[in-house]
Amino acid sequence: MYYNAMELMICCAARALEDGCTAAIGTGVPCAAAMLAQRTYAPALIVVFEAGGVAPQLPTMPISVGDSRTFYRGLMATSMADIMETCQRGMIDYTFLGGAQIDAYGNLNSTMIGTDYSRPKVRLPGSGGANDLASLCWRTLVVTNQDRRRFVEKLDFLTTPGYLTGPGAREAAGLPPDTGPYRVITDLAVLGYHERTKRMQVRSLHPDITLDQVRQATGFELETQEPLAVTAPPTEDELRILREEVDPHRIVIGRCPPVAGK
């Protein structure tokens, strides 16, 4: 089966969600992952959108976190405060985020590139709901391409909290205990965080990818584990559902040329 890196990333993200859990998601890859999970491993997965959509039966891929697809045949259409306060009460298990930069502790930058805050080289959107979701949901997943421009030693701006400066830093800052980064799913590998150091750790390499390639694409020292697993490629079922039901117009999976042929 031929598949591209985007399809593999979506499958990895879908497999990370267990049945019956709750997830706050956005458009694009996270949404595709949640839709795939609901049609495979996690039919009882409940998704919420920060604009107020609760448990929709997504008919097509939404283009906005607040568009009418995000509560289509849902259980409730409510407010942003209601969704975020559900996170704050501890009832949302996962959230999916992205960003222009990520560091070894899973902190994210989606605010600016440059050194002068008032005159950014590139002004990016800002936190949106990312800082809130990463502060309040139990586990944060990041799905992103991996290269040295994105995986950096030092962020230009710390928009959204990962483990901040290391073990205990989130709690010391006042963030709810036992929350934080969980997985980083890239086009090269699935990464997690070292239990003691809270630094990013390679968990499995995608088929035909070497640890050296992952290190070359990372601007900081990575933790590893022995033995390193190989990511299971997408199954025929996963690919069929993804291509025919989840993203028939290739809005997300079409962002990537086919590379990982098998």
Partner: protein
């Protein structure tokens, strides 16, 4: 309550609940007819230098006609609540660096420049990178909480986000210790906008409003804003409101003007009515790449039309609106 630390960002509005009470004490309570045109509402209720907030979520349930009119009337030096602002921010930015003065002077940023899955607005980037607009950082939820504090008539509310980040360091928030548990919390100052605009499904001529779908932060925004312009898809009889008051989500005494604007969220999405016009939104982003092209684009769609219905005509008129309605209701799928 001791302040443990504070962000470096200024506040662009006064969080004082007592001064807000003085304002609201003088606000009209009578059940009076507020039906008017968008041009009149913007002329009377939006002043140069005002702090403006826009309802909806990005391009969803957006009061587009009001934002266009603010540009057409050349309002200047506005402060703006960038609460998941996408197409609204894109329109307002078109009043900067295009030879028409400076529509935006200050922005509290939770989410701007981005157009969600559509990418980044080139001109919004140009404006924020130019240095002519002052800005500070917030988040979607903390801006919603600031509106909620104002809606509650309070000077602030505590929160548990932004802590430990540069987002906090560039905000106007403060860190405090909880007086009961000693835990670190962020203190979020109430946000009382001078003027807000919200697009709803139905309203009566007094301003009692009904909304279908998600309400985002609009119910708090309606109560927090000192002046409020409502645009609605449909004006409905007052008797209809009386028949089922449980459907009223914004009461008349919050509202200063009611304007009937069918397809008023175009080119954005209006739940249960019509889908977003992605083709037109792409044309916007394409035109923004070059300033001269953008000026011609703005002349065609905003400055060169008399009002919103003429804009709709230039965007394909009723046949295009019918297509978007069919897409919204998934009629092409046979449901």
């Amino acid at each position: 309550m001791d302040t443990l630390s504070q962000g470096s960002g200024p506040l662009f509005t006064d969080p004082s609940a007592n001064r807000a009470r003085e304002f609201f004490a003088a606000k009209l309570r009578a059940l009076t007819d507020k039906l008017t045109t968008v041009a009149d509402a913007v002329a009377r209720l939006v002043n140069d230098g005002d702090y403006l907030a826009i309802g909806g979520f990005g391009s969803d349930r957006l009061p587009t006609a009001v934002v266009h009119e603010i540009l057409r009337q050349g309002k200047q030096n506005l402060s703006f609540a960038g609460h998941t602002a996408t197409h609204d921010f894109e329109i307002l930015c078109a009043g900067n660096l295009t030879g028409r003065g400076k529509t935006l002077a200050r922005v509290e940023i939770a989410y701007v420049v981005g157009m969600e899955a559509r990418g980044l607005s080139p001109h919004a980037r140009r404006v924020l990178e130019s240095g002519e607009v002052q800005f500070t950082e917030w988040t979607n939820y903390t801006l919603a909480v600031r509106l909620k504090a104002a809606a509650m008539g309070l000077p602030f509310l505590p929160g548990r986000t932004m802590l430990g980040t540069d987002t906090f360091r560039h905000s106007g928030a403060k860190e405090i210790a909880c007086p009961f548990t000693g835990e670190r919390l962020v203190a979020l100052p109430a946000l009382y906008p001078d003027v807000a605009a919200i697009h709803v499904h139905e309203a009566d001529r007094y301003g009692n409003c009904r909304v279908r779908g998600t309400t985002v932060a609009d119910l708090d925004l309606a109560r927090a804003a000192k002046r409020l312009i409502i645009t609605c898809e449909r004006l409905i009889p007052h008797e209809e409101i009386r028949r089922d008051p449980s459907l009223t989500v914004i009461p008349f005494f919050c509202v200063d003007a009611v304007c009937e604007v069918p397809y008023g969220s175009y080119p954005g999405n209006m739940p249960y009515e019509y889908l977003s016009d992605e083709e037109h939104l792409r044309q916007w982003m394409e035109a923004e790449k070059d300033l001269e092209t953008l000026r011609r684009f703005l002349d065609r769609y905003i400055y060169g039309v008399t009002g919103f219905s003429e804009y709709l005509d230039r965007c394909g008129g009723l046949p295009r609106m019918q297509q978007l309605r069919q897409q919204e209701l998934l009629l092409h799928r046979g449901s």
